[in-house]
């Protein structure tokens, strides 16, 4: 028996390459489209080319008799299937009946009208062309502001005003704050519709096993358990006989944090044809039928004293809902309102949201979900305020930050910020970028007629979503840890990572807690038949909430291991360290593996102790976490073409403790790319008739390698007190911090021309027009008292 403890390598905090990668880099991972089953059939969905139309008739005869076709289903046949749910309950929320196939009317381009099932995907596609639908085209409205105007076409005839919901929030005394202000700045700010564009489109394989009354549903989702509960309900199946598997998932960014018509539809098809069926979304469908993000028109007012002290913020927020509510649609703008004070010490807040139906695909969560919109608004307003007061944008921020000794800090919107040192990342970013020197250079360049801008954004965000009362479907997360008789460790997490790397970070946590090697640990997720109920991966929550559930499950097991170790060592006083249980008096030890075997062999059990080593924890977070940071962007503008070149991108993010810096950097980079996408290139544009004119990659411009700047990523570290890991979450930080920094930078560059605001995306043409026209005041002037 070994009597010395070996020092085992620790993993948390190290740049450890990911354990999920071998299958991904060798092309052997299994995404939904890779699944093949005997007897598999293929579905193609026929969709509406019109944004609003009545369906007069549908003729499926030719399609039904086409080669290979098994059936063609229409909305009248699937009427018994439950509606696609909105998961949000609020007073006066208008929820249109969202059937899985259109029945008598279509509400947006891409609305599913019929499904063709054939034994071969090519034949299914051929047959879809043979369906004849007679549409009576109706007037459509695709712009939320136009939809609110009197006389606008009604998206849903029963609600002629097109209002889907309203929401009001008031904190402090806004009227007093504005009455006492020396200066009020107002601005309309648009956060345009975006297409999440996960590289893997959605896809579903449904396999009905009649004898078992069992439906197996493989779907590319971030929330397999919620999909199971809801789809089972829609189809009238038993939840315990519905198995949802999220195999490898090729990106989500919120677009797969949903329950879609096609998930229930494929279940229905498989039950009908008694065969497995596969549907893979085309990219065109992905553009027109998978949720979009953002879609805000915001009217901000910010009130301040002449010294720059912010007194209050008002917001009227128009949220473009689209034709229906998807799972969380009405919740997203509420997250914006929660985030309204930003990281500033402002106790007077008023917000009014109006959600508006349009003949477009629904909006819902997209990377950041409500927080990028809010941060973009606040950070633009703070910059405009600084400009109005002729203050330096860094100085006005330092002046208004919530001080670091004020935590926990209660906001006017009802949140309690957990911990923070907001000045630290800004100071660090200013140092890194060489702020004073850059301002000098800027002054010199201006003399030469050149446009260079320095843009700052200091953001806070709401992560680790979230306490259950604040979420529609539970905000806890679960973990099971099983230590097998051989000492190998299996983790089952309710989180559902799809690129975030928890197969690695969770193994790091467990390896350090148990003192075992990373290779001894397997992390399983994404299968409702394997994993206890879970909530899923979104809202920068997987590590902060799911990792904490794992941490507590590990503590339970450690206690049990120590109990067994103490029994085997016949000691009362033992320690678990380095993979050994050590008798603190004698120094004698038992390796962890031997103890694991003993718990299953169960020849002898400690008092009141069951055999085996398995623990499950459902952890309810007491609060959100609130990461923060500062991004600084330096831009040079081509005065002839309006093109923007990003010279420097400095990101200093504070996401609390960092488990794996390699992965955290990757999250920041990817987040920044999506923020830059919104700031510079991306826009989902519908024309007046509701046609999505950026409906393919030919017109929807994405960040590409040659367009991206080098991101200088740095950190400060303020651990969160909310969870024992001290982590805050980092999945959305890059996106949230990015867009206002870019726009602030470009507005700063053009400020000598009197430019004070530009809406995204900052296309060369917009910039050129500002450079070319005399009247450059594109926004309303701030009303100065």
């Amino acid at each position: 028996m070994a009597t010395t403890t070996t020092k085992v390598e620790t993993f948390v905090g190290k740049r450890i390459r990911r354990r999920e990668d071998p299958r991904l880099i060798t092309g052997t991972a299994t995404y939904v489209e890779d699944i093949q089953m005997p007897g598999m059939h293929y579905a193609v969905i026929l969709r509406s080319p019109h944004a609003a139309a009545r369906i007069r008739s549908i003729d499926t005869k030719k399609a039904e008799s086409a080669p290979g076709v098994v059936c063609v289903l229409l909305g009248k046949e699937t009427k018994g299937v439950g509606a696609v749910p909105c998961g949000v309950a609020m007073p006066d929320l208008r929820v249109p009946q969202h059937t899985i196939l259109a029945t008598d009317r279509v509400y947006f381009v891409g609305h599913p009208v019929a499904v063709v099932v054939a034994r071969d995907g090519y034949l299914a596609r051929d047959a879809a062309d043979l369906i004849e639908v007679d549409y009576e085209v109706l007037p459509a409205v695709a712009d939320p502001e136009k939809a609110l105007a009197k006389g606008a076409p009604a998206v849903h005839p029963q609600w002629p005003d097109n209002i889907a919901f309203t929401y009001h929030q008031d904190g402090g005394n806004v009227d007093k704050a504005f009455a006492e202000a020396d200066v009020v700045v107002k601005q309309r700010i648009v956060s345009q519709r975006l297409v999440p564009m996960a590289m893997e489109t959605r896809g579903v394989v449904a396999e009905w096993r009649n004898a078992d009354r069992q439906l197996n549903l493989y779907t590319s989702t971030q929330i397999p358990h919620l999909v199971r509960t809801i789809v089972a309900g829609m189809l009238g199946l038993e939840e315990n006989r519905t198995r949802v598997i999220a195999p490898e998932v090729g990106g989500g960014f919120g677009s797969k944090l949903n329950v879609y018509a096609e998930e229930a539809l494929m279940g229905y098809v498989s039950m009908k044809i008694q065969k497995p069926v596969k549907w893979i979304e085309s990219r065109r469908e992905n553009f027109t039928c998978t949720i979009h993000g953002r879609g805000h028109v915001d009217f901000y007012e910010i009130a301040a004293k002449r010294d720059g002290t912010i007194l209050g913020i008002k917001l009227k927020l128009i949220q473009d809902v689209g034709a229906y509510h998807q799972l969380l649609t009405p919740l997203i703008p509420q997250l914006s309102v929660l985030m309204m004070p930003g990281i500033y010490n402002t106790q007077n807040i008023r917000a009014d949201i109006v959600g508006v139906f349009t003949n477009c695909v629904p909006t819902d969560a997209y990377r950041g979900a409500g927080r990028p919109e809010a941060t973009h608004g606040i950070e633009r307003m703070v910059d405009m305020l600084a400009a109005e007061l002729k203050m330096d944008p860094a100085e006005i921020r330092f002046k208004n930050f919530v001080a670091k000794d004020k935590f926990p800090y209660a906001t006017a919107t009802g949140l309690t910020y957990d911990s923070g040192d907001y000045a630290a990342p800004l100071k660090k970013a200013l140092d890194l970028v060489g702020y004073a020197k850059l301002r000098q250079e800027q002054a010199d360049l201006r003399k030469q007629g050149k446009y260079m801008g320095i843009g700052i954004s200091t953001y806070g965000e709401i992560c680790a979503i979230g306490p259950s009362p604040a979420t529609p479907a539970g905000g806890w997360e679960s973990a099971t840890v099983k230590i097998e008789p051989s000492g190998k460790v299996t983790i089952l997490t309710g989180a559902c990572p799809h690129g975030q790397g928890e197969e690695t970070t969770f193994a790091q946590i467990a390896a350090d807690e148990l003192g075992v090697a990373l290779d001894d640990i397997v992390v399983l997720r994404g299968d409702t038949a394997v994993v206890q109920y879970g909530i899923g991966t979104f809202g920068s929550r997987a590590t902060a909430v799911g990792g904490t559930a794992l941490y507590y499950a590990l503590q339970d097991l450690k206690a049990k291991i120590k109990k067994f170790g103490a029994m085997l060592l016949e000691s009362e006083d033992v320690t678990l360290a380095g993979g050994q249980v050590v008798d603190n008096k004698t120094g004698k030890s038992k390796p962890f593996q031997e103890i694991a075997g003993a718990t299953y062999r169960a020849l002898k059990l400690p008092p009141n102790t069951e055999p085996g080593l398995m623990a499950t924890r459902f952890w309810e977070p007491p609060n959100f976490t609130f990461p923060f940071g500062a991004h600084i962007v330096v831009t040079d503008i081509d005065g002839e073409t309006g093109q923007i070149r990003i010279r420097r991108y400095v990101a200093v993010d504070d996401c609390g403790n960092i488990l794996n810096p390699l992965i955290v950097d990757g999250q920041i980079h990817g987040g920044v790319a999506q923020g830059l996408g919104q700031a510079l290139w991306e826009q989902a544009v519908y024309d007046d008739n509701g046609q999505l004119v950026t409906g393919e990659l030919t017109d929807y411009a994405l960040p590409r390698a040659h367009l991206m700047p080098w991101i200088e990523s740095h950190h400060t570290c303020t651990p969160s007190p909310v969870n024992p890991l001290g982590v805050k979450g980092v999945g959305e930080a890059g996106t949230i911090g990015c867009s206002p920094a870019v726009v602030n930078s470009v507005v700063d560059a053009l400020s000598p021309l009197g430019v004070r605001h530009i809406d995204m995306p900052l296309t060369p043409e917009k910039i050129w027009k500002l450079l070319a026209t005399k009247n450059r005041d594109v926004g309303s002037r701030g009303a100065t008292k």
């Binding site: 080319p49 019109h50 381009v109 062309d129 065109r284 553009f287 027109t288 024309d687 008739n689 046609q691 999505l692 004119v693 950026t694 409906g695 393919e696 030919t698 017109d699």
Partner: protein, 163 residues
């Protein structure tokens, strides 16, 4: 999408007005038009085959003429839909006499004193379906090209038919 432009036809406005509403002539002049069949007063059913580079599509639709004010203006509404999408054009055509030298097709047969007609058009074009999603950068140029083809053909026909 807004469309506008003008074209000079080598005939007088009265004749131009007639030609522009003659289904037989329209059928010949409209690019890709395979048939035009009267279904009501000033309303015609149309079959059309659009060939544009590799793009090809069969469209069925309607042509309607409205708000006639001979010989100065009328509205032309064209609608078509097919597998690859649908298109709709609604425009006001205004006809003005022109006494300046005409140099377009058919010019050789004319003298400079003859009156010709300046047809100016202004309206909306809509494109929907797959075409709308992938063809954004092509729609403007294509619409212009189709309109130009239409008038070129019409001018040629006018010349042959009129005198």
């Amino acid at each position: 999408m807004k469309i506008s432009g003008s074209y000079t036809l080598p005939v007088a406005p009265e004749r131009a007005f007639q030609i522009l509403q003659d289904p037989a002539i329209l059928a010949q002049a409209m690019p890709g038009c395979e048939s035009l069949e009267k279904i009501g007063p000033d309303e015609y059913r149309m079959k059309m085959k659009v060939l544009l580079a590799a793009l090809s599509g069969q469209f069925e639709g309607k042509v309607r003429i409205a708000d006639q004010a001979p010989p100065t203006s009328f509205r032309l509404i064209v609608e078509g839909s097919g597998r690859i999408g649908f298109l709709k054009g609604d425009g006001l055509l205004k006809l003005l006499p022109r006494y300046t030298d005409y140099t377009g097709p058919g010019a050789e047969a004319r003298t400079s004193t003859e009156v010709s007609t300046l047809v100016s058009y202004e309206g909306d074009a809509q494109v929907g379906g797959t075409m709308a999603a992938v063809g954004q950068r092509l729609i403007d140029g294509t619409a212009k090209m189709m309109i130009k083809k239409f008038f070129d053909k019409l001018a040629g026909l006018a010349r042959n038919l009129t005198w």
